[in-house]
Amino acid sequence: MMFSNVLKSEWLKLKHSKVVFIVLASPVLATIIGLFSTMHVPEHQWLGTITTMILAHSAIFLPLLTGVFAALICRHEHSGGSWKQVLTLPVSRLQIYFAKFIVILFLLTLTQTAFLIATWVAGTLKGFSDPFPFVNVLMSVGVGWLACLPLIALQLWLATMLTSFAGPSVVNVMLTFPAVIIANSPLFGPLYPWAHPLLGMTQALSYSLGGDAGFLDSAVTFYVVMISSLALFTVVGSVHFQRREWV
């Protein structure tokens, strides 16, 4: 059975689920925050507004969103008792698991793209005349996307393991709020997956502008933790999904 068929099936399940509101929620809120931002960087007209928007988007909304997407993608299998139907289809359990993973990645891509557009909209509405720093925001958005992967792997594992919509979301919210504080520690920040979107997006923006936002002692630690936690959560989550008993 083709993996693409499993993907199409997962995609269809999102119909009428109002997921578009969730995808756009953070970019829209960030735009509003950006419009009222008074942060001003002398040599760069756009930088203050974009930084404010990145902070709002990446510190709280982005980590929360990974949990919401993961819970949403498993919600109806739990509530409608559909796991037993999905898992008696002639496809491997791993295909089901990774189809869900990829749909979440796609939703995240939509959110990040919407955020990119949101920064341009906010600046344009404020009447900025300098050219829009597209490449810099794109870098930030791209690294932010990567920084969400470990969280998504973890959240998908929780969402398939705990049989409720609320469970994983509550866990995620509780672990997201300390992220802002932990991100300020150059030592613990890179070790805490919930701080990764903030670290990734701010650092990437400043590096691309030739600066350093100063959140990280070592970019290497950040990437090593990111890749190894992604690998760990993916393996543990998918193996658990494959082996568990569907009672």
Partner: protein, 306 residues
């Protein structure tokens, strides 16, 4: 062994939860074209067995062989030809009935026209474009049945398929299930806790109690167990008993009733004549037929007292 090929066969299937054997050494055989009624009281291990047959849970011991293949090794190949409905129906409430089936069709890769066909089979055509959250329990159950039929499976496994249906729906679904082997060459295994359900559709019956198979044979064999008895009431049972034993009929007594195995018409006439000639007053002659329900109760009750 091994010369008889079953469509589905389990050997010594066992499942343990917290040290208790929920299913214990279950051996179940299902031949092609049969409608196998899997019967047992609630909590006897029917759903656990069915989940093992579908690979949703792994047996602690024993093997499941379907289409001659080992389920633990070729699960996906086997599942291609199985349709199933386990316990409560599965559905996506925010999608229409048609889209619910479409999520499965994309994976099963059957023609789109098959969706309309199965919806028609379960009489849901009119509701096809309504969201499933508007469906009644019976409609959801019928949608689940449509989903199980979608891939035109060789084997259909239905766990309590008439749950939640109204009487008319029950009759309709029962008739539909009966036709599946004849019209589409399907083999069906359906579970129920009601003997009457099984009695009306099944060709073979397996009865499970406390995780063990206590009876498995053609339904006719079960019906034969429905032994008939003859009761005769008279004024003097002692004389009656002597007279009858001279004719080789052993009887049991209850008050002034004598009970014996049922006899052919001619023999009954003879018995009555003999009793009357011996000067006895015959008050009543009656026949007792034990229902299948009684047999089922006796079989499962016996299990409980063990």
């Amino acid at each position: 062994m091994g010369n008889q090929t079953y469509l589905l066969e389990t050997n010594g299937l066992t499942k343990t939860y917290k040290g208790a054997k929920v299913v214990n050494g279950l051996s179940l055989q299902l031949e092609e074209g049969e409608i196998y009624g899997f019967l047992g009281p609630n909590g006897a291990g029917k759903t656990t067995t069915i989940r093992m047959l579908l690979g949703l849970i792994k047996p602690a011991k024993g093997r499941v062989t379907v289409f001659g293949k080992d389920l633990s090794k070729e699960r996906i190949t086997i599942l291609k030809q199985i349709g199933s409905l386990v316990e409560s129906p599965s559905y996506y409430p925010h999608l229409t009935g048609k889209d619910n089936l479409e999520t499965l069709r994309k994976i099963l890769q059957v023609p789109k026209s098959r969706i309309a066909e199965v919806l028609e089979m379960v009489r849901l055509t009119k509701m096809a474009d309504r969201k499933v959250k508007e469906y009644s329990l019976g409609m959801k159950q019928r949608l689940g049945l449509a989903a199980s039929l979608l891939g035109s499976p060789k084997l259909l496994i239905l766990d309590e398929p008439t749950n939640g249906l109204d009487p008319a729906g029950m009759i309709y679904i029962r008739e539909l299930i009966k036709q599946l082997p004849v019209k589409y060459g399907m083999t069906v295994l359906l579970s129920s806790h009601l003997l009457s359900e099984i009695d009306q559709v099944a060709t073979k019956v397996g009865i499970i109690a406390k995780g063990e198979m206590i009876f498995q044979d053609q339904i006719d064999v079960l019906r034969e167990k429905a032994s008939r008895k003859l009761h005769v009431q008279m004024n003097d049972w002692e004389t009656g008993q002597k007279v009858l034993s001279r004719h080789g009929i052993e009887t049991a007594r209850h008050d002034n009733w004598l009970t014996m195995p049922n006899q052919p018409d001619g023999k009954i006439a003879e018995i009555v004549k003999e009793l009357v000639y011996s000067g006895l007053d015959i008050y009543r002659v009656s026949e007792e037929i034990a229902s299948l329900e009684d047999i089922f109760l006796n079989l499962t009750k016996g299990e409980e007292t063990l």
